[in-house]
Symmetry: C2
Subunit: 484 residues, 2 copies
């Protein structure tokens, strides 16, 4: 009976009730082959004594085990392991150091932990919105209201895999008005974020060996995704006014690419905007060679210099243009919401995959967002954020440029949420980043942005999520770090 | 100048400002090749007259166009289309009926709309939790608190692709205590829901031609997913006490399957629970033939008959077991949150893909959930829900069984949220479903559950989301429908 004492460990502080700890323990003993079918179990009183628990707890455990089919109580004979269980070979009891599933000694999560910062650290991100300014109250109020309503189940039950219909109707109107996209709700699939949109399109349309034209440098997770789908990347230099369209035309003349990936506003990571000339050149190229185009316009709503330039997709006849956007940037990068805009037949095909990847989004959040957009709150919020982010951009740009122009080069972007900053070649960004951390400043060391073998010695400084005080503190610390 | 009048349509009710409508209109005219580089544009005053708008609005539009590089103002000469734009062939103006991207005449969304119900309809779902009873206030309060905090950006910035670390720590403790899984946070990847967990595993490990053993019938979206990954399905009958393990052993003896997919608690759609005997048989099979196993235990927390049976994964040495779970069932099926439990190396590999599919989840929601679990609220909520759902199961089962036993066959499940109901062969479920809709009752017509060619003439009646009044109303209507 010693096995019961060692195998059943009663933890009185555990969330599991004691009877259920006993019952689970007995199951494990049977599983390990220590007790075989028809073996007798200790009597209620005996097991209670062994485990130092109340007899009624053992009764409850035995009843539970009987209900589950593990044991049988024979009147006036005792309690036995069920006769219908197949005999199994005993499994060696695990040693303590086997208790966890296999674990490499330097697991990634450990490395990540070491990198984790403390509360007082100043974190300069890659270009995130300021979640402190998000219209949380408005959205949350609407969310709660929906959760309490009986008929809201409709939305959840018939939650379409392309996203709540109400949101698609409202969003298509918003996109017609802001981007001149000739679309309605049948042209939209709501996703968790622009990244999921990109994933769904690539997984649906790319094949092993597909040729994909990408900017150089380019958004890393897009490149990783194209490779994951087996595509071959063809890099095209990104200049100050956007991707080199002459080069694209040359490539297209020689070999037909399957896909051209474009970030028209505030290219990631370099923040440049595609010029009108290049946009027209691209339209001509697409007209002539008919490659598939993904226009990743995640940043359209944040353009400060002038009105943003209309999407390529607003000029195209549809068939092969996929226009990607994000609403997360307007709220918080935690509340992720994006969309794919394409022909209804493409949306239909993509939504088949969307369902298998993630069934559907958070329908109540989608409905709350659709109210938010419909009532004009979203447009007002965007206006307010544009004003604030514009000021923050100017402040961070001027502080950096006035104080560090001989050590860093930076361009003032027309919009977006980050400054692309190149460090003088005499400065090692990696060691600056490491030293910064010691001073309570977290900045990226730039390796993430090196999508080719070239070390760009550059990083992105997100200004949007920082207020005036934080921007000042950031530049102060950076000045100390870069002091000659 | 007629083109300006036809191509620029001022809509005063639009959200776009008027100057931006003008500016976009001019861009479109240039794009379409109607105006070419160096062509003269109408003067400010002239365009204002043509469009019947204020001259200052035209000035603003022209300034905007100049900033974007579309036009040039030559002092004392006038306004011209930029000389550096490449000349392009005119694109034919779209006809009205071309205004939308291509659209098939009977689009799926139209069909779906016809199926959409009205507010007063009673919808019997596939087995959803009752979102009206969700602890929305607690979660929402925590969510708002986090959104306002400066340092919450840490979580969002370093949001790990395996999910917020705090949630993984708390959840692994919860799973150790409730399911005896020998794990810690390095064994977990948080997903949007169990479906995403399944997707990530399959896409990472299945290859074209992989052999997958599945129950017959089986959860449709799992089957669809296996096929999407190119796998070959081998069906194994599901009996009253779970999948036929003898059949699995026979198959394994002949051909090594790559994956066995198991739903141990309340198999979808038939709601049966795997018996302890079959569980042991499965453990033996896995020990002997070493196939990969996915244990989809989405319903573990909702078991009413006795304690749920411990997962297979709690007995296995790890390597090839993937344990899937869901937290959405406990809250609302809109707030989707699931997890994969596997070896750290498998989690690492899967998280690479998770990042490309969806970057990360909603970090603030994950943190709010981790507080909710940590403080014991989650366990208390589960207990309360189990009590309520147990009562609802009993009520719906008894009402149906007492009143319709000669027309339907149904089994009382040990847990879960739905009753699997088979209609007498003289009754056509499809026409019952159609007639029900006319009476304000929405029930599935059962085709979704026919994963093989056999028409099961069965459907699932979700009891968890319905209160006493609704359950009574449902059975009343069904009785009228099935009256002989």
């Amino acid at each position: 009976m010693e096995i019961f004492k060692t195998a059943i460990r009663i933890e009185r502080t555990s969330k599991s009730s004691i009877f259920s700890q006993v019952s689970k323990g007995v199951v494990h003993i049977i599983q390990r082959g220590v007790l075989k079918p028809n073996d007798r179990l200790p009597s209620v009183r005996k097991l209670a004594r062994i485990l130092d628990i109340h007899a009624r707890t053992v009764v409850a455990a035995y009843e539970d085990l009987e209900a589950q089919g593990w044991i049988e109580t024979l009147p006036r004979k005792g309690v036995f392991v069920s006769s219908v269980l197949p005999t199994i070979k005993p499994i060696k009891l695990r040693q303590n150091n086997e208790a966890r599933m296999d674990r490499p000694t330097t697991h990634e999560s450990v490395k990540r932990n070491q990198k984790t910062s403390t509360k007082s650290d100043l974190i300069v991100d890659d270009g995130f919105p300021d979640h402190r300014l998000a219209p949380t109250d408005l959205i949350v109020r609407e969310y709660r209201r929906l959760m309490k309503k009986s008929h809201a189940i409709r939305a959840a039950t018939f939650g379409e895999h392309t996203g709540a219909e109400e949101l698609r109707v409202v969003l298509s109107k918003f996109l017609r008005e802001t981007r001149a996209l000739p679309i309605d709700e049948s042209n939209l699939c709501i996703t968790r974020g622009a990244q999921m949109g990109l994933y769904l399109i690539c997984r649906t349309y790319l094949k092993r060996g597909s040729k994909v034209l990408v900017g150089e440098p380019n958004y890393r997770f897009a490149n990783d995704l194209f490779k994951e789908c087996g595509a071959e990347l063809i890099g095209v230099p990104v200049e100050k006014d956007g991707i080199d369209t002459n080069r694209i035309a040359q490539i297209c003349a020689k070999q037909k690419p399957d896909l051209i990936y474009i970030i028209p506003h505030h290219h990631h990571p370099t923040t440049v905007t595609l010029s009108p000339q290049k946009r027209i050149a691209l339209l001509e190229i697409v007209e002539k060679y008919k490659p598939m185009v993904i226009e990743d316009d995640y940043d359209y709503d944040f353009h400060y210099a002038s009105s943003p330039i209309l999407p390529l997709a607003s000029y195209m006849k549809g068939q092969d243009v996929f226009y990607l956007g994000s609403l997360s940037k307007a709220i918080s990068n935690a509340l992720r919401l994006g969309f794919i805009c394409a022909t209804p037949s493409a949306i239909e095909r993509i939504s088949q995959l969307r369902r298998l990847v993630d069934l559907r989004g958070d329908t109540f959040f989608e409905l709350a967002m659709s109210n938010f957009i419909k009532e004009g709150e979203f447009a007002r919020h965007l206006k307010r954020m544009n004003r604030i982010y514009n000021e923050r951009r100017d402040l961070m740009y001027e502080l950096l440029n006035n104080n560090l122009a001989d050590r860093i080069t930076l361009m003032k972007p027309n919009g977006g949420m980050a400054l692309w900053t190149t460090f003088h070649k005499s400065i090692d960004l990696k060691s600056v980043s490491a030293k910064a951390r010691e001073m309570g400043l977290v900045i990226d060391d730039g390796t993430f942005y090196n999508t080719t073998k070239v070390n760009l010695n550059s990083t992105r400084f997100g200004f949007a999520s920082k207020d005036e005080r934080e921007i000042n503190r950031f530049v102060d610390i950076l000045q100390i770090l870069l002091k000659r």
